[in-house]
Amino acid sequence: MTTTMSARDDAPRRSAPLAPAFRMTPKGFRALVAMHARLLFREPGTAVVVLLPLALLLIFANVHSARYTPQKALGGRTVLDVYVPTFAALMPLMLALTVLPGRMAMLRESKALRRFRVSPVPPAGMLVALLAVIVSLAAAGVVLVVAVGVGVYGAAMPSGLGTVIAAFVLGSAAVFALGLIVAAVAPGQGTANGLGAPMMILNFFFSGLYFPVAEMPHWLQKTGEFVPFGAVMDAWAGQGALWQHLTVLGCYTLLGGVAAVKLFRWE
């Protein structure tokens, strides 16, 4: 026992970055959630993130042919059917890859993390509260887009609802993990955007925002299966092997999460 003790004492003493971090009272957690929610809604960009997908949905739904004409190239579905999941995907994509990294970089840049570290506010708990607020917003956004698309404009629901929800949840987890990597390292909001935006656009592309995935060349579709929201869209449309899509998403989530924790910097 003596030997293990001295071995430990000889090691350079460094506080583990995420160690005492999550311990907090429900009251404390509520206070942090309230703070992040307020800050988020005071940011003009947040409204854009929530309203843009809805606005796109309304525009498409009001184009007669998009709403009612089944397309052969789209496997007999209407343009609206295809675009409802795409617009829904914008919510987690924008929130995970630009808003989350941007908010964390802001906390780092403004040295607020440093101030919280010398108080009993657990800084990692603070980040968990931030994540909770943004994930809730993403979930609400997805539900809203799908509810309006399906409920108001009669877009077709996907067949295997359970697998689709699983794919969407896992896909969101995957991009949130990628967003967390950026959030972990970006020293400022500029860097956060510079790193997060290209990932977001890549996901936009393979979620079919710019061009329907079904009309892409075969090799491009194949590539898209390995991009988080490419895999989600395939699962939604019932294309390819479901186990493969879920594995891809699981890997992103796991590796991204581990990388984010490993790379995390307070200052």
Binding site: R14, S15, A31, M35, L107, K111, S119
Partner: protein, 313 residues
Amino acid sequence: MHVIEVSGLHKQYGAVTAVQEVSFSVEQGEIFGILGPNGAGKTTTVECISGLRTGDRGAVRVLGLDPTVDGEQLRQVVGVQLQEAGLPDRLKVREALEVFAAFYRKTADIDALLDRLGLTEKADTAYKKLSGGQKQRLAIAIALIGEPQVVILDELTTGLDPHARREVWELVEQIRADSVTVLLVTHFMEEAERLCDRVALIDRGRVVALDTPAGITQRAGGGQRMRFKPSAPIADEDLRALPSVTSLSHHGAQIEIEGGQDLIQQVTSLLAHRQIIAGELRIEQSTLDDAFLALTADAQAPDNSPTNQRNGA
């Protein structure tokens, strides 16, 4: 028991030694100053005391606890204001206090605290829109929200205008009046002289003096300096013969004499005895400023006389 006890603290960053063999202790209810030029190791010392860093060697105890091991317990009773720290731009003053308050077991009344720090009118103002002085006062409010037993204030008045600085000083005096122990880090002599009961003077990572501000001034010469134009000639030797005189020089018709504590009394009585009038008389008492320069310059330059230009005192 000492409230803060630092013994043999040593911290190295790569090849740079930031702090070496720093030791001091702070007593209950005192305002203790850590004074030193920029880059002397003040902030590193404070970061070790507040648990943000761990020293390579030596021990730090705050209220008997080790900041790196018992950080969680200490953060409940130690309020810290850091030199480099901020808040989200859009967070409002009251909201900031509410968030911090939610984590303390004991909390001060937010309205009373806002009032005491003159922030009541700014309660709903976003952090970004506060002036430098208001931001500092908010930082102090956050340091006080948990009704701490010890408050650490790092470079509290840097960047403030003289008016705001004086306001902040009054606040620190109020804090002490509540028998809270204050550790004050500063490079302003005036601040240390005005507020601190005792001061540790740190230069290039070492404590070079530890005493009351007056004691440090004394130690660095405690000298006085006078300059005058004698109404009749007086021999240099006669002046030099006075026990307090350490140096004498001529500047045109003026004589400048430096010496110890009794210099002025000795010189004036000699002049009176000879019926010489000291015209254009100027007397300077050396201050903590001089002591600071003398003690920190010792190692830097061969010229270690406490002479720097400072008008009045």
